[in-house]
Symmetry: C2
Subunit: 316 residues, 2 copies
């Protein structure tokens, strides 16, 4: 659905000349992306992804995203490895934009989430943050509670009455979060976008994690909260307790949570729901009529938020 | 045939505690190794190789071997990636020896060499040296012409008359090589041990290259010469011209040879044959009676040397 920058065979071949990854055999645009342009390229050597960064990624932050992925791979974590060209450069120009070549991961996203997948996700988050908690890389979360407030203020400029219910709930909730957001929990570089489309599976095992362009330093327990909301709720049937307990079991195989993290979980889950809710609401209100990408329904995350407001005692 | 250092499940689990590669599920010693001890270990995350370095590898050189493999992988070349533990260390102690964990490569060595495989080998050498010709890593070839002379002197101390024919031929050949060895050819870090057992294939495509413990800086054309001897001669039928032309075609897909390299080829091929011949002869004469590893027959490489002495005009 979204190949924003069109490339010809010649343009890709010219770009590949500086690399030692073999001769271009074929290429195809990947439609799933909604932020950047991605091509799957097949060379005489292997498959790779050529990513061209569109306006939503800040070029100054590209070195962070590339270093993070490389550090993860060198610690044995399965994610794309950014490939250096013959000059030792990872980030290069193509058609006036920044591009990178990263290794191709086998596997695909799963269709229906089962507890076994959630256990894998929990385990993956623990291994990820075990690696990144001592990382020297720095990037603040650009979608933190202050940003949610700003996005919400922008949403409220809308005159569309159908959103008033959202505004009312979010007004109160943001006030609550502002007052109760924890300050002193263990941090690490987190992925911060562990939705189903960013985690590949082969059979029921994670084969790799992609799309690191929200990654930032934040609470490990906030990463868990984001993942719980994404993996343990069904838009029809609501909270899925077996998914939840499996995710936590998976996490605890490789890491542990302290008492402050446990106490803060409900607030983090509500914040994690608001994080997605306000951005979806914003995109729904302000998406251009001719957008290539259909905005996601904010309602799903309103329900998740309301569930956490009522169920404050989830056990860890 | 050669798991020199035996490890228990507990010992491997203890070693893995410092890594973020998941929980140990199973492990098995790999019998093919003749230099180091290798275990294939399967964790909840993936397959890996645990290598323990035995006495033939100089511990001071381990950082070179590890950095080389990491540089190759980050340039898109398929070889094992050394995995860092949570302290950022690749080389760690296990049972009083040095050990590393590297990623596991799928694929296996091929049984019968066809031209299609030789083309892959030539192409791989070009891509390898395109990456390493600007490498800042340094390691001299510890098996250079001076070393061959020393090894040969040691061989000649033997009183076993069955080797006298070898001694006579090598005496003259080493004199010839000493006089004619080129000095000014393009260099790169080369693998220097590209035998069939160190190149894995999936179907007829190379899936990866292993065992970098002879890698060093030397002539790119010498790497080609070593590979030609290893891939384009059959112990029964001799020189295989289709294998040879395929290997050269593969190489030329990604690199070129200058006039000096072409002129030096015959000398390099003879030197490459002597390199293997003298070490095999030495191992045959001096291997301990109770050795785990059966020495390889030097005769195969005597024939290759004699072929190059007679056929000095191979076309590149």
């Amino acid at each position: 659905m979204a190949v924003f920058t069109k490339l010809t065979k010649d343009e890709i071949e010219t770009y590949l000349k500086d690399y030692s990854i073999g001769k271009l055999l074929s290429y195809e645009g990947i439609l799933e992306g909604i932020e950047n342009t991605n091509y799957k390229i097949t060379t005489s050597n292997n498959n790779y992804i050529l990513t061209i960064f569109e306006k939503r990624v800040n070029p100054e932050e590209l070195p962070f995203f590339m270093s993070l992925q490389r550090d993860l791979v060198t610690h044995g974590f399965d994610c794309p490895l950014p490939i250096e060209n013959n000059n030792g450069l990872i980030i290069n120009k193509i058609k006036g934009k920044y591009g990178v070549i990263i290794s191709f991961l086998d596997g695909k996203q799963i269709q229906s989430i089962l507890p076994i997948h959630c256990r894998e996700v929990g385990s993956m988050i623990a291994r990820f943050t075990n690696i990144t908690k001592s990382s020297k890389l720095k990037r603040n979360n650009s979608l933190n509670i202050e940003t949610w407030l700003n996005i919400f203020e922008k949403c409220k400029e809308s005159n569309d009455k159908s959103y008033y219910k959202y505004f009312e709930i979010l007004e109160k909730e943001l006030f609550f979060l502002k007052k109760n957001w924890p300050t002193n929990l263990p941090k690490a570089i987190i992925h911060a976008d562990l939705f189903k489309d960013n985690i590949f599976f082969i059979e029921d095992k994670i084969s790799g994690v992609i799309d690191f362009y929200f990654s930032c330093e934040d609470f490990i327990a906030y990463e868990l909260a984001l993942a719980i909301n994404a993996w343990c709720f069904d838009s029809k049937t609501g909270f899925k307790s077996k998914n939840y307990s499996s995710l936590i079991i998976g996490f605890k195989e490789h890491a542990s949570l302290n008492i402050n993290e446990m106490k803060a979980l409900n607030v983090l889950l509500r914040g994690a729901a608001v994080r997605i809710l306000v951005t979806r609401l914003h995109d729904m209100i302000y998406h251009p009529k001719d957008a290539l990408v259909i905005p996601k329904d904010p309602k799903e995350y309103l329900k998740i938020l309301e569930w956490h407001q009522k169920n404050t005692e989830l056990e860890l």
